[in-house]
Amino acid sequence: MFRYLKLYFHFFRNCLVRELEFRFNAFLLSLVHIFWLGVMLGSVTLIFGQVDSLAGWRKEEVLILAVVGMLFHDITEMFFIGGLQRFSYFIRHGEFDFILLKPVNSRFMTSFRYAEFQNIFRIIIMIFVLASFLRGAGISPSIYEWAGFSAFFLAGLIVFYNIFFMVITTNFWLINVFNFNDIFDRFLSAGRYPVDIFKGRLKPFFAYVIPLGLIGTFAVEIFLGRARLVSFWIAILMVVVTSLLSELFWRFALKHYQSASS
C-alpha cells in the first residue's frame, strides 16, 4: 500500500520534471486555462443576458456550478485523465506489454502514470474563484457543508474514474479508437449544467447510467441548501457499482488481451 503511494509520488515527480522541460508551454497552458474559464463564464453570462432562469437555477447559482464543474475537470486531469488518454497509444504501439511485465498492478500503472501535478496551481486558483463566487452570492457554507460538498465531489471523481476506465478498457477490442478524449470532454462539460435540465426519459439515464449530477449539481446543492435525498443514494450506489464493474471488466479484458494477438 505504502509502496503504491511512493510510486504515485514518483509519477507526480516525473510529470513535474517533464512539464518543467516545457516551461514556456506550461505557462502558456495556464494562460489558456484561465482563458477557457473566461470563455465558459462569459458564455453563461451571455446566456443569462437573454434568459431568466435555467431549470429553476438563477444566474449566480449556474455560475457557481460552472466553476465547480471546471474544477472537477481539472482534478480529473491532474490525477488520471492523462493516463487513460495515452492508453490508446500504448495499446496500439505494443507498449502496454511493458506495463504487463512490471510487478505492479497494471490498472494502477495505466491510470496514474501520467498525472499532471502542475495542475495544482490551476486548482488553487479555481478554489479561490469558487470562494469568491460563493461570497458574491451571499453563501457562506459551514464546515459540515464543505464536508458534504467534498464527499459528493470525491464520489463523483471515483465514479467517473471508473466509468472512463471502462470506456478505455474497450480499447482492447476496438483497437482503432483514439478519440476517447471526446467522450470524456463531453460528459464533463455536460456536468457543468444543473442536472435538472434533463426531462422525461432522459432523466434516469443522466441520473443513473452516466450520473452527471455527481460532477457538480449534487455537491453545489449542498451549498444552496437544497440537497436532495436521492443524490445520496445515487452517490453510494454508483461508487459501489462502477468500482466493481470496472475492476471485473479490466480483468476480463486482460485475459482476452493475453489470449489474442498483440
Binding site: 517533464r18 506489454d97 504487463l100 505492479v104 489470449s259 498483440s262
Partner: protein, 327 residues
C-alpha cells in the same frame, strides 16, 4: 532443475482477412473472414541456468510469440511453461521481479524524460534496495559507457544510445532470466558490437539465463553456443551452433564487382560460380577455401570491389528442411 522448461507449447491466433481496395474496405464493414494462424506449433525445450541461447528464424517464424509466452504476456493455447518454477501466465510479482524483456524497437523508457528518470522509477517499481541499485547502475553505466547521456532526454538520443539505456532499464533489478527480442535491429555496426559484447559480459559475470532472438546470423554467432532454429512455429533444430555452421552453412558467398567484361564460361571453369550478372559475380565457396579462392580471384580477374558474406539465414534454414534429416 532447468531454469526454463517448455513442453508442447502451442499458440494459435484468429486473424481476419481484408480484401484490398475500395470495395474490400466497404465489405469488411459488414462481414469478416477469419483464419487460424499457428504462430507456435508444439515447441519443447529446456534451458539451464547461465545458458545464452539464440532463437533464430525468419520473420514471422514464431520467435517473438514464444518469448511473449515465456514472459507471461500471452496465454498459450496449449502446453506448459515453467520458468524459475513459476507459471509465467500467473504473473506473480515474485516472478516478474526476476525476469526482463527487451524488445528491439519498442521503448519502455519515458520519451520526454532523461533516461535516469526511468531508471529511478524502475528502482521503485522493482523495489530494488538503494545501495544495490547504485552499485548495479554504476556498473551498467560504466560497461556501456553512457555516463554523459544519462541526463539527456530519451527522444534526443540516437537509436544506439537508446538501446543501451533500454538494456540498463531492463537490468537494474538484476533479473535471473533475460529475454532479448531483436535487440540490435536497426543499429549501426559499432553499436551492435558494443551491445553484443555487453550481453556476453553480463551473462558471464552474473550467470543470467539469456534467450536472444535475431534474424541476423552475426548476432547469434558472436554470442551463443546453443541455438534453436524456429520456422513456421516449429523447432527445427536445437543444438550447438558449431554443428549448424559446419553441417549447413559450410560455405560463404564471395561477391565480386568486375570492371571489365569476362567470358562467363571461362570463369565457371575455374571458380565455383553461384550467379553472374555483369558486373556482379557471386562465388559459392567452401569455408576453408575462401582465402585461397579470393586470392586467386584477385589475381586472375579484373576485380573492382569484393565482399565476403555469410549465406542468408533463410538459405540455411531452407536447407535444414530439404533433405538433411536432422533430429
Amino acid at each position: 532443475m532447468a531454469v526454463i522448461s517448455v513442453q508442447n507449447l502451442k499458440k494459435f491466433y484468429k486473424v481476419h482477412q481484408k480484401e484490398p481496395g475500395f470495395w474490400g474496405s466497404l465489405k469488411s464493414l459488414v462481414k469478416r473472414k477469419y483464419y487460424d494462424v499457428k504462430a507456435v506449433d508444439d515447441i519443447s525445450f529446456e534451458i539451464e541456468e547461465g545458458e545464452l541461447v539464440g532463437f533464430i528464424g525468419p520473420n514471422g517464424a514464431g520467435k517473438t510469440t514464444t518469448l511473449k509466452c515465456l514472459s507471461g504476456l500471452l496465454y498459450p493455447t496449449a502446453g506448459q511453461v515453467r520458468i524459475l518454477g513459476f507459471n509465467p501466465w500467473d504473473r506473480k510479482n515474485q516472478f516478474l521481479k526476476q525476469i526482463s524483456l527487451v524488445m528491439g524497437q519498442k521503448n519502455q523508457l519515458w520519451w520526454d524524460l532523461p533516461a535516469i528518470e526511468t531508471f529511478n522509477l524502475n528502482k521503485e517499481i522493482y523495489e530494488v534496495p538503494t545501495p544495490q541499485y547504485k552499485k548495479t547502475l554504476d556498473e551498467l553505466v560504466q560497461l556501456l559507457e553512457i555516463e554523459d547521456i544519462l541526463k539527456v532526454q530519451v527522444r534526443k538520443l540516437s537509436l544506439g544510445q537508446r538501446m543501451k539505456c533500454e538494456l540498463i532499464a531492463a537490468l537494474l533489478h538484476s533479473p535471473k532470466v533475460l529475454f532479448l527480442d531483436e535487440p540490435t535491429i536497426g543499429l549501426d555496426v559499432v553499436s551492435q558490437k558494443k551491445i553484443l559484447d555487453f550481453i556476453r559480459e553480463y551473462n558471464k559475470k552474473h550467470q543470467a539465463t539469456i534467450i536472444l532472438t535475431s534474424h541476423y546470423m552475426g548476432d547469434i554467432e558472436q554470442l551463443c553456443q546453443r541455438v534453436m532454429v524456429i520456422d513456421n512455429g516449429r523447432l527445427c533444430f536445437d543444438g550447438q551452433l558449431s554443428d549448424i555452421i559446419q553441417k549447413y552453412a559450410d560455405h560463404k558467398l564471395v561477391s565480386l564487382i568486375l570492371n571489365k567484361e569476362v567470358d562467363p564460361k571461362v570463369v565457371a571453369k575455374v571458380f565455383p560460380v553461384k550467379e553472374f550478372n555483369y558486373p556482379k559475380l557471386v562465388l559459392n565457396v567452401k569455408r576453408d577455401q575462401v582465402a585461397g579462392i579470393t586470392a586467386r580471384a584477385l589475381e586472375q580477374l579484373p576485380v573492382a570491389d569484393l565482399s565476403i558474406e555469410e549465406p542468408a539465414i533463410e538459405d540455411i534454414i531452407r536447407e535444414l528442411f530439404t533433405g538433411k534429416d536432422y533430429a
